[in-house]
């Protein structure tokens, strides 16, 4: 049995890089999808709005794990073998898109309707209203919950370990299996999660305060 030394720690640290990469890719792709879904959800086209609504409802009502299993094991039945990283980031992106869509739709809807009235009275088109008046204010409103969700995402990436992808949590398990030093190993893993999430949480709290201060409306 090996001890929990420097090489083991470095192995865990490198795996944290995968956690970050996975988070970044899932968040980036999920943002694009979430933004598109939020706009679809608010569009005047009934079909678009209903399709987005159905997608969001389904994804939010099933565990990410099922999406992950379907994309990793399910697709392999049809001869499509996705690399673990690809299946993991795609599944997480699907999950992210459904949640961000709702956060952002809520943010857009919480811009006071008087802002729509004032800008339409100034002869702006609907697109101009979104671009110059509504979206800039919605972004301010959405920053704290979006960053808050990002913190959740960092931690939730750990579920992809079940398809054999070695990220931070899985690395901790592997090292523990070899060293059987659960306290040291998982304390180190937890500390790394903390070092990633704590600054993000602070950022979220800070943004929340800054947003309130900036809105005497």
């Amino acid at each position: 049995m090996t001890t929990f030394g420097w090489p083991e720690f470095l192995f865990i640290l490198r795996s944290a890089g995968w956690t970050l990469l996975l988070t970044a890719v899932a968040f980036a792709i999920g943002s694009l999808g979430g933004g598109a879904l939020a706009i679809m959800r608010l569009s005047r086209g009934r079909v678009l709005a209903q399709a987005a609504k159905a997608y969001i409802l389904v994804i939010q009502s099933i565990p990410v794990l099922m999406v992950l299993f379907m994309s990793y094991y399910g697709l392999s039945l049809f001869g499509i073998e996705l690399p673990a990283f690809f299946a993991a980031s795609a599944s997480l992106a699907i999950y992210v898109s459904a949640y961000l869509a709702e956060i952002w739709r809520g943010s857009i809807e919480s811009v006071p309707y008087q802002q729509w009235e004032a800008s339409s009275s100034l002869a702006l088109t609907r697109t101009q209203q979104y671009r110059y008046i509504i979206i800039p204010q919605a972004i301010r409103i959405s920053l704290p919950p979006t960053v808050g969700f990002l913190v959740q995402l960092v931690k939730n990436t750990s579920i992809v370990s079940v398809v054999g992808f070695v990220e931070l949590s899985r690395a901790g398990q592997l090292v523990n299996n070899a060293t059987f030093r659960p306290f040291q190993v998982f304390a180190a893993v937890a500390a790394i999660y903390f070092l990633i999430c704590f600054p993000l949480s602070r950022l979220s709290r800070y943004l929340e305060g800054a947003m309130h201060a900036g809105r005497g409306h």
Partner: protein, 243 residues
């Protein structure tokens, strides 16, 4: 030709009929005050004029545009018809200057140098030249409302609508807004204003319209309306307001 023509306008919200056949004609350069109790339909009438509310029947023509629901034609109308709201509704993420310059630039497509000059002019007109780079949150209510007036003026409207623009203000801030409006009136702007400021209606408006239960109950030259109200409803309204 009158600047505003309203013919037999009906408007209902669900089962409630708010406007029960309203007709009104306003000449260019005229100032018309609309008074009445809350729920009498006066704000709704004003909001129908620039299409913020869509009336179910009747005809509205303003600044040469016939009101209809087509978004493109509605925008053309709104370029010529300004509105100022009770709650100012400035854009909180933009500076005062940006609030004013946005619509002339993107809705009317004016050059930025021209738009800047326009903004400087209208801000001077409302006496707030030094606030060009301030954010709305850092202004008092009265100042915000004057910026809102300047923002409308920057579109060079032919008609201006004022929807209870001093109702959210402390008494000491009301005066500075009314002064700006009086200057506009004297400058020949066509104005329709829904107001609770009876002195302003009496002294500044050419015509005062009293609305009651969704109808124009009594209308006439302001001096006469206030000196010799004919209907008991107007008498009791004015009586209640005087004390």
């Amino acid at each position: 030709m009158p600047a505003v023509v309203i013919e037999d306008v009906h408007k209902r919200f669900g089962p409630v009929e708010v406007l029960k056949g309203v007709s009104l004609s306003v000449e260019a350069g005229q100032v018309v005050a609309i008074i009445g109790r809350s729920g009498s339909g006066k704000s709704t009438l004003l909001r129908c004029i620039n299409g913020l509310e869509i009336c179910q029947s009747g005809r509205i023509e303003v600044a040469g545009h016939v009101l209809d629901r087509d978004p493109r034609r509605l925008r053309e109308l709104r370029k010529d018809v300004g509105i100022v709201f009770q709650s100012y509704n400035l854009f909180p993420h933009l500076t005062v200057g940006e609030n004013i310059m946005l619509a002339p630039r993107i809705a009317k497509g004016l050059e930025s140098a021209e738009v800047r000059k326009l903004a400087v002019d209208v801000l001077a007109q409302v006496g707030l030249s030094e606030k060009f780079d301030a954010y709305p949150d850092n202004l008092s209510g009265g100042q915000q409302q004057r910026v809102a007036i300047a923002r409308s003026l920057a579109m060079r409207p032919q008609v201006m609508l004022f929807d209870e623009v001093t109702s959210a203000l402390d008494p000491e801030l009301t005066g500075e807004v009314l002064v700006v409006m009086e200057k506009l009136a004297k400058g020949g702007m066509t104005m329709l204003l829904v107001t609770h400021e009876m002195n302003f209606a009496r002294n500044v408006a050419d015509t005062t319209v009293f609305m009651h239960q969704g109808k124009i109950w009594e209308a006439g030259a302001s001096a006469e309306i206030f000196a010799a109200p004919k209907t008991t409803e107007l008498k009791s309204f004015l009586g209640a307001g005087m004390h």
